[in-house]
Symmetry: C2
Subunit: 315 residues, 2 copies
């Protein structure tokens, strides 16, 4: 039985929204998976009773403590061992759960990922892979979305490998096209980092490199499946795409096409490169976003993503 840990205390509207999202997710999860809710048992059960949900399907690990958004991540992680995020990572470390998802402090999630779980040997830096909606029904992957604002070429090439495996196994994209996000399609274009990275990308056999793409290509399926960039550019692009979704909503345009740009559709992004599955959700997650984060987590465990990554980085 696969067990997915979910941080009930994390996110701006916890525990109400996280419990409601967990209820939605548990109803859709296949029978080989159950949720492990990490949070205040009384509050969880109040919502469960109110919602008339059969809570025998899941487990609860009780804790009332949590790490707030304003707290210093590593200090809080060390000083609050009973907070939901440290508890989740310790369950993950001891394999009592197979994955851990939280819409709480991103900083504390990174601390748990790096200190408790640790990187897979051979990987230089962790990254966050974000899903980007496109003009087709298949999304693209942007890696990194904000963990490493200054990524060296040797880190970028590892993003190519991680992103390619993620796209292939979790989104069923065969032989994913990996591109460098750049400011021109020609090899010699770019900043110091992309110019240094291009020759290494061109020579690699680790993934299907298709060259440079530009900002315009991010949202179209024509050229690319996996977009490699440093975390600074990735984060700016991701937030710009969110802004466009908000502009569309602000104009009262109700087109299902643009709903793909709603972060709730995907819910969460994995920390790739660590030796287990940890997923970060948006602080303002809704029940729908929490549900989709959990279902997305299920797929990552189910396809054995961590083993695929370990194989690729085997010395």
């Amino acid at each position: 039985m696969m067990k997915i840990g979910i941080d009930i205390m994390g996110g701006d509207f916890a525990p109400e929204v996280t419990v409601l999202g967990s209820i939605l997710a548990q109803k859709e999860l296949p029978h080989d998976a159950k949720l492990v809710l990490i949070g205040d048992e009384n509050k969880i059960n109040q919502i469960v009773t109110r919602e008339k949900f059969d809570s025998t399907l899941w487990e609860i690990v009780h804790t009332t403590d949590f790490i707030g958004m304003g707290e210093h991540p590593s200090k809080a992680f060390a000083q609050k061992p009973d907070a939901s995020i440290p508890v989740g990572f310790n369950l993950l470390k001891s394999k009592q759960i197979d994955a851990f998802a939280s819409a709480g402090s991103t900083g504390a999630m990174m601390v748990g990922a790096m200190i408790v779980i640790k990187l897979i040997p051979g990987i230089i830096r962790p990254s966050i892979a974000t899903i980007m909606a496109t003009d087709s029904n298949v999304p693209s992957v942007i890696i990194d979305a904000g963990i490493n604002p200054d990524a060296r070429p040797d880190v970028l090439i590892q993003y190519g490998i991680l992103g390619s495996l993620y796209a292939q196994h979790v989104f069923n994209i065969q032989n994913p096209r990996v591109a460098l996000l750049n400011i021109g399609s020609e090899e010699e274009k770019g900043n110091l980092v992309t110019k240094a990275a291009y020759p290494i990308f061109k020579d690699t056999k680790a993934f299907n490199f298709v060259g440079n793409i530009e900002g315009h290509d991010i949202f179209f399926k024509e050229k690319v499946d996996v977009i490699v960039c440093d975390g600074f550019v990735g984060n700016v692009v991701l937030k710009a795409a969110e802004a466009f979704y908000h502009l569309v909503k602000k104009r009262n345009i109700d087109d299902p096409f643009f709903e793909k740009f709603n972060f709730e559709t995907y819910g969460g992004t994995p920390i790739l490169g660590i030796d287990s599955i940890a997923i970060i959700g948006h602080g303002i997650s809704t029940p729908l976003a929490i549900k989709n984060m959990i279902l997305h987590t299920y797929r990552m465990v189910k396809v054995g993503l961590i083993d695929k990554i370990k194989e690729a980085f085997q010395p």
Copy 2:
């Protein structure tokens, strides 16, 4: 009488589109300005006759040569003195025209800007300031949009000055709010460059620094008027915004709000930091884009932007 030079041979659909755009512009230009068309006189006059336009309003500087998009900019500039872009810059240098606008080779425009016109003393690097549509009727300025992919903090602070003057004098934004584009609002967030730039921005009295903004804030008027970033990030954001406009059009959404994101609305972006007014248009410019590029150029000359910049950088 102000004279605005326009490159008739530049752009993917020249000379048809550039002449039609010039006709539209000449009709709207105030009486203190006239156009100087640089290009093939026979072709210009064919279109003028067909369109039944009174061409006594403008001047023509005849040349049939031009620099193609695929040519090496500095080589072509040196080897083709009679091509429209070198001719335009020499007219600008000798003050026979007050400004020069082209939708042709961006590289050749930069060569002309740097070699023929040169930087204003005190300015380290030139930049391209792009106009970005927002949720309000007032646009914002993004500087740099692609000339310097690796900008140092001392260059970024000059972008703040240039962008602030451009926003104030050309868009009538009083005391423009200047922000650093970053991946978090806190001072300590960012990549190596933005983290090094922040303290210098905080200390400057040269403009109204309001702190960091994130990708989401670019398209909203709430926080910022002038967005400072390196040319790599600026170029990616600009092209992503173009992509969103295309997605909206692709969905057949006909909302005048999103027409603001159509590059044709603004038409051209100035090369800031040089000792005259040179404007770069989009290669795929339509007559509307050419017209708006010319009217935008008129405003820059009219408000004396170059003198304002020289005052600010006076030793």
